[in-house]
Symmetry: C2
Subunit: 318 residues, 2 copies
C-alpha cells in the first residue's frame, strides 16, 4: 500500500468544507482507496462483482436446507438476471461476472476425504487469481454453493479454534437436526484432517471448496494488482481468511462490507479485526452485502474528489 497516497488524501480531507473528521468512515474509505490503488486521487471507473460458484460433497451429510442442484439453477438465474445480485450490481453501477467452478464435480466430502487435492485446489485458486484484471478499480467477491456455510465454519474453526459449534449457523435455513448434522460433520472434518491444519493452505484445501479457493486466489490477485476489495458475508470472509494467517496484513486491502446474520460471521470478523461497514441482517451471499457497500465507497470518493475547500467556497474556519 502507498502511505504517500493515503496521506495525500487525508491532507486534502482536512481542507474540505466540513468539520474535520465529520464524514467518519467516508474519510477513511477515501484514504483506503488511495492506499491500495496507489493513487493520490483514487478512481472508481470500473467496479466489478465476481460470484464464484461451486458444489460440495459434504452435502451428503445433510447440512443444507436446499438440494445441490440449486447451485447450477442459481447460476442460470444469474445469467437470466433474476437473482438479487443482478439488481444490486445494477444499482451499484458494477459489472457482474459469474464464474462456475466445475459444478458437475463437487468437492470431496471432507468428513471422508480432503475437499480438494493439491491439483484441484490450485486450479480453483488460479481460476480466481486469473479472473482479476488490472483495469479494475474496486472488486466485490461473492459466492454461490449449496452447503458452503459448512466449509466456511470448518475453515473458521481450523484457523481460529473455539470448536465447531461456535462457528456453525443455520445457513439457508436448516432446522435443529440439520444444525446438529453440520456440527458433527465439521467436527469429523477437523479430526480427519488434523495433520494438515497447521498450514492455512492445508485448511483451505482440506476443508474448503472450489468457490472459496477461487475467492482466496482473487483476493491475492487484487493485492498484487493494486485493487481494493469488498468482502461479502461469512463464506466469502472465511475463504479469504487464510491470507490473514499467512501474513498479518494479508487482508489490509479489504473491507468487510457487512456482517451477515449467519451466526459465525461476527466472530470471524472480530478474529480478523475487520469491522463491518454495514449490518443489515442479510444472509444471502452472492456478493449481495459487498455490492450494497459500493455506493458508499462511491460516495466517499465523490465527497473527497469534488467537495470545495474552505478557501474555494469562502467559508470561515473555526
Amino acid at each position: 500500500g502507498s502511505d504517500t497516497a493515503a496521506k495525500a488524501v487525508a491532507n486534502r480531507q482536512d481542507t474540505l468544507t466540513k468539520p474535520q473528521g465529520s464524514l467518519g468512515k467516508l474519510e477513511t474509505i477515501a484514504s483506503w482507496l488511495a492506499r491500495w490503488q496507489g493513487r493520490d486521487m483514487p478512481r472508481l471507473d470500473r467496479v466489478k462483482v465476481f460470484v464464484f460458484a461451486g458444489n460440495h460433497g459434504v452435502t451428503a451429510q445433510g447440512v443444507s436446507a436446499y438440494p445441490s442442484e440449486v447451485t447450477v439453477q442459481m447460476v442460470a438465474n444469474f445469467a437470466g438476471g433474476g437473482a438479487a445480485i443482478n439488481q444490486l450490481a445494477r444499482i451499484a453501477g458494477a459489472e457482474l461476472d459469474v464464474i462456475p467452478l466445475d459444478l458437475d464435480h463437487p468437492s470431496g466430502d471432507f468428513t471422508q476425504v480432503a475437499a480438494m487435492d493439491e491439483k484441484a485446489f490450485l486450479a480453483a485458486v488460479s481460476a480466481g487469481y486469473d479472473a482479476i484484471t488490472k483495469d479494475l478499480d474496486l472488486v466485490c467477491f461473492g459466492e454461490m454453493g449449496i452447503g458452503n456455510t459448512t466449509p466456511a465454519a470448518a475453515i473458521s474453526a481450523a484457523l481460529f479454534g473455539g470448536g465447531a459449534e461456535k462457528w456453525t449457523g443455520r445457513g439457508t435455513g436448516v432446522d435443529d437436526a440439520g444444525l446438529k448434522r453440520k456440527v458433527v460433520a465439521i467436527e469429523a472434518g477437523l479430526k480427519r484432517h488434523a495433520a494438515a491444519l497447521a498450514d492455512p493452505l492445508g485448511v483451505a484445501a482440506s476443508l474448503g471448496g472450489r468457490e472459496l479457493a477461487a475467492i482466496f486466489g482473487a483476493t491475492l490477485a487484487a493485492r498484487h494488482l493494486g485493487i481494493p476489495v469488498l468482502l461479502d458475508g461469512f463464506v466469502c470472509t472465511a475463504a479469504a481468511a487464510p491470507l490473514a494467517k499467512l501474513h498479518p496484513a494479508g487482508l489490509a486491502h479489504t473491507i468487510a462490507a457487512h456482517v451477515s446474520a449467519e451466526s459465525g460471521h461476527r466472530g470471524l470478523l472480530e478474529a480478523l479485526a475487520l469491522p463491518p461497514l454495514l449490518d443489515l441482517g442479510m444472509r444471502l451471499g452472492e456478493g449481495s452485502g459487498a455490492c450494497l457497500a459500493v455506493n458508499i465507497v462511491r460516495s466517499a470518493l465523490e465527497c473527497h474528489a469534488r467537495m470545495a475547500s474552505f478557501a474555494e467556497a469562502g467559508v470561515s474556519e473555526k
Copy 2:
C-alpha cells in the same frame, strides 16, 4: 399506512429466489415503502433531499466552534455544488432543495426568550410543510445551522428527560469549555421555559429553531401525502421527535438513516425506538446520512420488484 400493501410485498418476497428473510432489512424496507406509499408495488422515481437552514440566537452563549456567518456561507456552498450533500445527492440520484429560513434573523436566545414566538414557529413549520409535494416518492431531511446541536439537545432533554448533560455533545467540535457552556445554556433554557415544556409543540417553539420547525412540518406533510421519510442525524431526529410525543406512531413513516457520532443521537434513537440503518461515524448533518441510505432503499425496491420467483427461474425449493 396500508396494511394491505405491506402484506402484498411480504407475500411476494417469500416467492423470490432467495431463502426467506435472507435479504434482512432490505425486505422490511420494501414493505415499509409499500405501507407508507400505499402501493403494492412501491416506486422511487422521484427522491428529494431537503436541507433547511436557520440561525440561532443561542450562539451568543458560545456554544459552537464556528461563527454564525458560516450558515449563509454554507448555503452558498450548497448552491455552488461544493458541499458534501451535493456529491451525496448526485450518487443517490436525488434532487436537492436547500431552503434557507430567514437567516438574517436568528431565532431568539432560548436562555433569555423563546426561540420562536407562535407566529415565527408556525411560519417555519409551514415552510417545511409546504415544501413537500405529493409527486415525491421518498424524501430525505437535513439541516444546516451553526449552533443547532444545542437546540437539538435541549429538545431531547425536554421530551425525554435525563438532564442536559446526557444529550450534549461536541457538535462541529467545541472544546471542553464550549461543551460546558452548552450544558449551562441548555439547563438555563429548560428552567426558563419549564411552563411550556409539557406540550411537545411548546418544546419545539421554545427551545428549537426555524430549520428544526421546518423539518417537523415537512415530516408531518410527508405523512399526510403518503411519502416515506429518511431522517438524518441528531438535529434532524430531534426536530421530528415532537411528532412521536404527539402520537405514538407519529414517526412510523420514517426510518432513521444512520446514527451520528454526535453523542446524544444514539440515546435519542433508542428513546424513539428507531433503530438506525447505518452507523458510519458521521456527524456532518446536511442530510448526509439520510442521503447515503437512499441507494440501500433503491436496492431493496429493485430486489423486490425485479427478482425472479422460484417458479419463474426454475429453482428448486426446500
